[in-house]
Symmetry: C3
Subunit: 154 residues, 3 copies
Amino acid sequence: MKTMLESKMHILKKSIHAPDFLNEPIEYGNAFSRGIKVDAGNITFLFISGTASVDKHGNTYCPNDFSNQVKRTFDNLTALLKAEGTDWHDVVQTRCYLKDMKFYDEFNIYRTHFYKENNLDPFPSSVAVQATLCRPDLLVEIEATAILNNSKEK
Amino acid sequence: MKTMLESKMHILKKSIHAPDFLNEPIEYGNAFSRGIKVDAGNITFLFISGTASVDKHGNTYCPNDFSNQVKRTFDNLTALLKAEGTDWHDVVQTRCYLKDMKFYDEFNIYRTHFYKENNLDPFPSSVAVQATLCRPDLLVEIEATAILNNSKEK
Amino acid sequence: MKTMLESKMHILKKSIHAPDFLNEPIEYGNAFSRGIKVDAGNITFLFISGTASVDKHGNTYCPNDFSNQVKRTFDNLTALLKAEGTDWHDVVQTRCYLKDMKFYDEFNIYRTHFYKENNLDPFPSSVAVQATLCRPDLLVEIEATAILNNSKEK
């Protein structure tokens, strides 16, 4: 027997776009979405892909300039969250990949500033490791997971 | 007061096996499951472990051969998804670790071909970084998360 | 029309603390939580941040000593799980970052011992890669995701 609740439950997936900030990876041959929104009844998950300092044409923004890349990376993530009507308050987890751990202090200074400016409390969970990224001129890449109410359905 | 819904809610976890493709890691002393299925009411999550080009005996398949390793890795992941009655359409996220970023173009060519062949729309979210893997002869490792209806309960 | 279930659904996020084991990262300027608990109706998610061999004052515990660091890392993770009333049986996924893959055998010996001592069945899913961590004297870092019933609400 299916209850009424079970019968109306269905999981919807869609890709997330922020074309004013980031192009689509498939334009340069990479088959992934900038993010995936999963509506699962009352819960919505946003899985934002590893996001770097890329512009709307797919070019690296500020090659080899950590200070501007980290700012652009957070701006790109913000744009992807905003595209689904949300913001950093719903982000529960980030993974941060730095090309060189020598940037870690600068990364933390910017992130702390950014999160405080956004009044985040609690801060998201996080992991940060050093990793070589997909382009030699990219210095930082961040992925994010958000969990929110499926408020749009109301 | 517990509602009827709450009273029947329970979270079930089981490990995922695809013995025709991959052996169990514990056979060589590694205590992890190839994947975990979590049934949480109407939602089912599959957390597929980092999966590489390993055969059913636990040996590296095609050592140091990127082209065949990436194919085998996707085949192993497909087998693990299939073991739970699903496929790539339910994958929302992947994390891809390449031993050397010089393989990134070849990786993308194969992945794009594979996803298009499987008619994926949208493509999963993704992150890809360079990382040294657990065996020197392994060149690629991919983990995947799928979210699906708990359709088997119907 | 909103059902009674939908109207009472709300997602609650809080940070996870285990001050007897680990200090708060913000004390040394890093804006992340040791973990985030997400209560989403009947399901609770714990996203435990990348956790290393750190003590309650934020200092590295046993610098450059893999054997003691891996033990401390698991103890720190256990303390964070315990802070929310749970344990390793609810962990569905780990990501393990080793500073050098030469530690992988020792890592597996300890992990297998630890999981068997905790009677884990199934074992969590896992990925393990080599990565340089945030401090030169840290040799291992592990993040974990747990999914459990929201049993505390009953």
